[in-house]
Amino acid sequence: MLSVPSHTALYMDEEIDTRTINSSFLRDHSYATEADIISTVEFNSTGELLATGDKGGRVVVFQREQESKNQPHRRGEYNVYSTFQSHEPEFDYLKSLEIEEKINKIRWLPQQNAAYFLLSTNDKTVKLWKISERDKRPEGYNLKYEDGRVRDPTTITALRVPVLRPMDLMVEATSRRVFSNAHTYHINSISVNSDNETYMSTDDLRINLWNLEITNRSFNIVDLKPANMEELTEVITAAEFHPNQCNTFIYSSSKGSIRLCDMRAAALCDNHCKFFEEPEDPVNRSFFSEIISSISDVKFSHSGRYLMTRDYLTVKVWDLNMENKPLETYQVHDYLRSKLCSLYENDCIFDKFECVWNGTDSVLMTGSYNNFFRMFDRNTKRDVTLEASRENSKPRAILKPRKVCVGGKRRKDEISMDSLDFGKKILHTAWHPSENIIAVAATNNLYIFQDKVN
């Protein structure tokens, strides 16, 4: 189904700092269908692998190429490693509803042996996949032929020792566990715990805790569902475990708040132990205030000290020790504030943008419209708008910063606010855990950009 990725890359201008962007169009389709739209992107803990999931239920895993000395510029390009169908469309006959195969989230498990494990989820079912390599096969069995047929025992006259013979490398993806029937609503997040034994899955109203080995039982740890659904005014939008405290997790809500819970306090964590919320600025108050304050993504920093949240117009960094207001607030596309009514009308206001930290927690990245994505340097307080597009950035060229013109006269290099394409949105991005390599999903294309090697 996937077209062969074309790898072309251009060198970056040496004069511009250390920042070379090496872009590769890894998944490119001339006839993109709905099923090809990338719905999640995730690096594994070493950054060697990058997984993407799409609306067609497929998972494509990319592996970083080993560096070669004679081709230094080809350092670390990502090639397709494995492709498999993780979820199939299903039909729930009892409820008479279709269950989409769209992959909502992928999370890698920490690597413990030669094989790789990942969790993938659609709206209802989480699956544990094992991705392993095989480059040898055993030959010379006594009781069967090489093609698997059983030998007639009477013909066996001598015993031999089977041997392993090399063969072409084969990457296998096998489903190891299926965690189903635990979610009534749509799963929006999964998060592997730092104890490496449990993970949680979150839907609109509940959070469940699972053991990775046990599929027939899960524990409900948060339940927001009111007895009377008429009273429902708030849903869970995302949740994540603390990176190193296995008892702590956070979840964000559609009302713009984040709750931190401690599983040691009680089995059911309906009572949070910390509540992060910023009081609304009366100046900007409008009927859309609640909608734009709804949190679409929440992420712990690698250090575990900070939280990052994304709402419709901003990215905020919170200190775990300060609940009443965020430490930092960055405007992603504040010029849209004047267009909220139109964005409500065409439903863009409900888009769920994700956000990511870089490896050192010093830079934030998140997406916007018109294939733009934004980076914010927390130390220098500088920010940049970049574009992931084939037309406007050639492979292995430096990405040029983009500017959106807001009112007044438009300068030559600026893009008018009215020419922004709201159909091209970057919702999913990922940052390599230790290097400055980013993966940006733009509809059905995956772009990988990286720093230049000096």
Binding site: E290, Q331, T380
Partner: protein
Amino acid sequence: MTLINQRNKLIPVLGCHSCFRVDMFSKGTKRKFPSDDDEMSDESLASAKVSSSYSLQRQSLLDMSLIKLQLCHMLVEPNLCRSVLIANTVRQIQEEMTHDGSWVVTEAFCSGTQGPSERLVATEVLCRSREQEAEPKLFSVISYEGISREEEVVADETLCSVSVHDSASDVCLSETSRRCWDETEDSPESSRLGPGDDEDDEDEDEDDEQESSSREDPKAMGQVFGTFEIKNGASGPDSALEELFSDVDASYYDLDTMLTGIQSTAPKMGPYDLLDSLSPSHTPTSINSPSNCRSDLNELDHIMEIIVGS
């Protein structure tokens, strides 16, 4: 290493651009519009014919939200987050309308042919829509017909609450529940609102149908979205209105695709046209330009005149 270290000049973090449009939606600034004050102080029935741009926009927003909610209900499993946010928006608008009196005004205007007590009670219910009341009773699935034949007040109530009833299947969100009105209801019509099982609901629908046919216009199309009727009074939708909104009905599937982002069918949509003409994205030059906005408002007045039928 500084990652963001471009030679080029960086975009400064943009400040807040509160433009004209935002102002109109900001709660605190609505009294800027002189017509608003005039109308409010003058409690004539004519004030229902809204000429205040703020309340006009608010009404458009409410209408749009109700359409969106309506479409949510038609899905077996809608995006819960989205429906909750829309429902909260509707609630917020209706609370504000109740608060600033425009709700009452329209009620007074509408009370000609229907029991005023009922409407007042309904408003009261809207005000405390979040409270737990008497045991909620099951209300028939908000089918298209169901909604269109409901009393407008009931439709409002069901729509303004988060109409996602947790049924036995625990997932079917297309149903909605309705409060038992018996406690507060003392109008003769209350009896038909009491029982909640399906049979009664069917009866109720029939009753409503009869009732509406006894009124001027039995055609339900114009009444699909209850607030339209509230706004337009009890005389029933006139022909212009009907024409406007009959498209809404006929192009139901167009509406659906439209709300999911394909806007090619936009010309059909009454309320959307209204917003289009207001929207900065469609009239880019009107941003920060009062003169253009003024012309937009005139246009709106014109549309509104058609709707109201004056």
